[in-house]
Symmetry: C2
Subunit: 340 residues, 2 copies
């Protein structure tokens, strides 16, 4: 038996926002002939993340860029359909690593991680609050930001997949938390549903004036996802000995040139601020305990999350574009095939 | 009896490089009538530091700016001439804090620190290798940079008072150390006298190409004193998990606008770099043990330093200008009066 495997391949490096034709959907036959020790996985959910855009470019980055002509890289979860690894029975829900934007993939069984079956936890949680976005928030906020009770924390892109978890983790530690997001609805979700102490709609509010009002004691932790003028506005209000986990700089991912640093770098010096770039891949050896702690908080309702599921692999590119315009609501996934 | 006290007062905030007339030398009478618990100190050496220029401006900074009309702030050492504090006998050599650019000062005895008398250690060492510049190098390099044996360390302004000590401390820890300085003589001093593994003359060399040649394994620690294009060249070659103690940004101190951050801030993210601004004042409670360790290394000849002494309080302003052009050789001091 053979299957038709649809693959999104990178045809050229996007300039600026992703355009039609930067990727193409190609159909290739895939044989059932799986090598010993390998498994054939059917993709169920594909995770769309800001870092996908980085991987498409040849800028300096933490993994090699996706090569032109290659299948687009991406996180996913899938179901084992054919197994030649005794530990992985067909039907098992697994995280296959960075397999990519395709219907099927054949990978070494030992590179594949079966997902724990936790009652009440849907599969999509493993690509959101309990997945790499949740873990990014966990390590970035708790280990680098390390807010203390009563400190003030600002999170940019606070309604995003990482930012929303990071914001709630800071609340769990007793901090005053202010989120920055685009749009009234997102801001309302942050304050009314997630319990943040304030939210700033950067599309309509004067961010600096709002920070002055909402952070009367200055800012101790800036969980930075965005860069640019929003970062500058936060930085200008950071306290002595403040921490800035640098998680993302999405404002620059579609730009051709490099993403510039703060307008006033001397603030880091004068206020003894620590900026620490980080990537969740560095923490994978400690993912297990963190994931269990997150799962408990999700189960107790202390961490809420939203998942926005688009249907169909064919819509992956158009869905990814929404990440950069904010026209999505929660962690953005593409459902490629049914869960069972 | 009364003395004539000459004081450099700030008459206006400099724009760009310090101009004649930005400060004026004023003579005022000073009475011997010292209040109880106070001491009258005769200034012996005045320390000239890049941070003096920061204090003259009203930019955001770590201490309040010097007010227009006030005596210019500065580190110094002096001799107690009149004492109404039983612990401080006349003739004692002391560090009076940030008393300033004047012949005499009357201060509370408990704010004054007598200098330890270490055989073979000249008084000027307490304003250089064993003073706040040495301590800045000590905490910035050893605690924030924390180079490991075999790592590569780059120090900008490496022939300066802080940079030269920082470079030697990294050598003591077994690192490969490359210094960046302005001029062939300074570079020769770094390699031939201080034992650095390489030196780059930014006034004549292509800094990027030289870094490529001298740092074949990339850069693990960047002890940053300068900012601007030199910082960008170093940053572009920093390794994953590198550290950047941010000690100074002298390239921007004479500028009117803010000092911009790195041209490519995303490098911090992609390479998980830590930037930590610091000020030596935060470490004063731990200065004693650090100073003793530095004194031992100085005594053993493991840390060498140079002092450049200009004579006469009246020359303080012209001397300070040299800090920004590099026309000095070692820690820049002004001798205001004889040591004894």
């Amino acid at each position: 038996m053979s299957r038709i495997n649809r693959q999104w391949r990178l045809t050229r490096r996007p300039e600026g926002a992703i355009q039609d034709g930067d990727l193409e959907l190609v159909e290739t036959p895939l044989s059932d002939d799986v090598p010993d020790g390998h498994v054939l996985i059917r993709t169920v959910y594909l995770s769309l993340d800001p870092t996908n855009r980085i991987w498409m470019s040849d800028r300096d980055q933490y993994l090699p860029p996706v090569e032109v002509g290659a299948v687009m890289r991406g996180s996913s979860i899938g179901v084992v359909e054919v197994s030649r690894d005794a530990r992985l029975a067909p039907g098992t829900l697994v995280a296959p690593g960075l397999g990519g934007w395709q219907d099927y993939d054949i990978v070494l069984g030992k590179q594949v991680r079966p997902l724990p079956a936790i009652p009440g936890v849907p599969a999509t949680a493993y690509l959101s609050a309990l997945g790499s976005t949740g873990l990014t928030a966990y390590f970035g906020m708790l280990e680098i930001g390390a807010p203390k009770e009563g400190e003030t924390v600002v999170v940019s892109a606070a309604a995003g997949a990482v930012g929303s978890v990071a914001s709630q983790l800071a609340k769990l530690k007793g901090a005053r938390v202010i989120g920055i997001a685009g749009g009234r609805d997102k801001c309302r979700w942050l304050t009314d549903e997630l319990g943040l102490d304030g939210a700033i709609d950067y599309k309509h509010d004067d961010v600096g004036a709002a920070l002055d009002r909402l952070c009367p004691n200055g800012i101790d932790v800036n969980f930075e996802n965005v860069g640019g003028p929003i970062m500058d506005a936060v930085l200008a209000r950071m306290n002595n000995f403040a921490r800035m986990p640098l998680c993302g700089l999405i404002s620059g991912y579609n730009a051709d040139g490099p993403t510039p640093g703060p307008k006033d770098f001397s603030l880091l010096l004068m206020r003894r601020i620590r900026v620490q770039g980080f990537i969740v891949l560095d923490y994978l050896s400690r993912a297990g305990p963190a994931q269990r702690e997150l799962a408990q908080w999700v189960g107790e309702g202390k961490i809420k999350y939203k998942v926005h599921v688009e249907q169909g692999l064919e819509n992956a590119v158009s869905a990814l574009r929404r990440l950069f315009t904010g026209e999505h609501d929660g962690k953005l996934l593409v459902q490629v095939s049914p869960e069972s």
